[in-house]
């Protein structure tokens, strides 16, 4: 079946957090719905569904994207990393531990997206300045924390000293 033929559904293969999945999906299915409803990976959240809040952020072949603005068929052949992949070994990664230590979440709804954005940031910028952290998390909205503790947590996860300790 040629990828060039226009079709309303197709079979795709994606690797999510190291595990391969093959599924038939409608062309109109958003990637976030594919993950949550078809693969039962509900860690990535749907907040605004308009590309503003970043709760659905994940890494697509290493690039940070919002999965509510991508079709599942567009991810065919790609490697996805979602929040479920962070503590895959059952133990929190340092970034997650820092979020816990520094009270970087209250209701927690934005947290999966925040963690993925911070993960992407720390891969390219291992010791980010506060300005770089703010810029790196710009696409993620949090309505509880006022952001301060999130910035402290990212700073701590990168091995930098922070003003308020746990």
């Amino acid at each position: 079946m040629s990828a060039q033929e226009a079709m309303s559904s197709r079979t795709i293969v994606v690797e999510v957090n190291g595990e391969s999945y093959e599924r038939e999906v409608d062309a109109r299915r958003l990637l976030i719905h594919f993950l949550r409803d078809d693969l039962d990976l509900t860690g990535s959240h749907i907040g605004c569904d308009t590309g503003n809040c970043g709760a659905c952020s994940l890494l697509l072949d290493g690039t940070l994207v919002k999965s509510c603005m991508l079709l599942a068929v567009q991810a065919d052949g790609s490697k996805l990393e979602t929040v479920e992949g962070l503590a895959a070994g059952g133990e929190l990664v340092p970034l997650q531990q820092a979020f816990s230590d520094h009270h970087a979440l209250q209701c927690g709804y934005c947290t999966p997206g925040m963690l993925m954005s911070a993960t992407a940031l720390l891969r390219t910028t291992p010791r980010p300045s506060e300005e770089e952290i703010r810029k790196g998390l710009q696409g993620n909205i949090c309505r509880c924390t006022g952001y301060w503790n999130i910035i402290e947590a990212v700073k701590a996860a990168s091995g930098q000293e922070v003003a308020i300790d746990e």
């Binding site: 226009a6 062309a27 970043g54 940070l64 603005m69 991508l70 710009q138 696409g139």
Partner: protein, 271 residues
Amino acid sequence: MLLREVEYTRPSSVADAVRLLDSHAGARALAGGQTLVNVMKARAASPDVLVDLNRIDDLRRISVSGDTLQIGAMATYTQIMGASEVEVSRPILGEVSAQIADVQVRNRGTIGGNVCSNDPTNHLPPLLVALDAAFTILGSGGERTVPVEEFFLGVYLTAVGEGELLTSISVPAAGNPADGFASITLGRDGTCIANAAASLESGSPRVAIGCVDAVPVLVRPTGADEESVRRAVQEAELEPPSDVHASAEYRRHLAAVCAVRAVRQAEERGR
């Protein structure tokens, strides 16, 4: 949100993309999707067929040849921000790309998508007017190049016709680029309430004002001093829209402020 049913196709060459766009009524090019997917959710657009351009590497090429900087229509904002070709010839394109939305949107959103959607609040249409860009459009009948004055036709409307594809955007490469951009936004790097771009490359300043009309408004002040710029904006007799963020009168004021700031930045850069 559940989208209306749509067919999807993923060509691997520019020629195939044009053939697909031309052969399906109701086909639409899917670039970064950072606008289109959202307007599809709202049913403001309901294409029958999406022609996904994301696997056509030729469309992402950025190059300088001779005195022209050529940017493929599918170059993302992130790519433009990091391209040495842009940095040496027209760095303002990278600087302004870095002001668009957020990391995630910049990773997917493309220069071609930005200009083809031609939302009046977008950053790049006024900038490309100021830079005197040219647009290469490919259709089944062949290729044509459209100057920027003829590219932006109306809100969400450009010279790219049905069955056609914008393939690249060219701007003159400058030795000592004297370009500037200023905006008033909703929050940092948010939607523009008013913006203006300026270039002093071609003798008298080219100043393009966004957010005030269906297409960017080009004004040509006689000089780069503040009085000349303000006079030129005034003579344009702008009739901007009123909305919850700014009344028409306030937006007219902001347009002049942005124009002056953009020209000042262009002057400082050109020194």
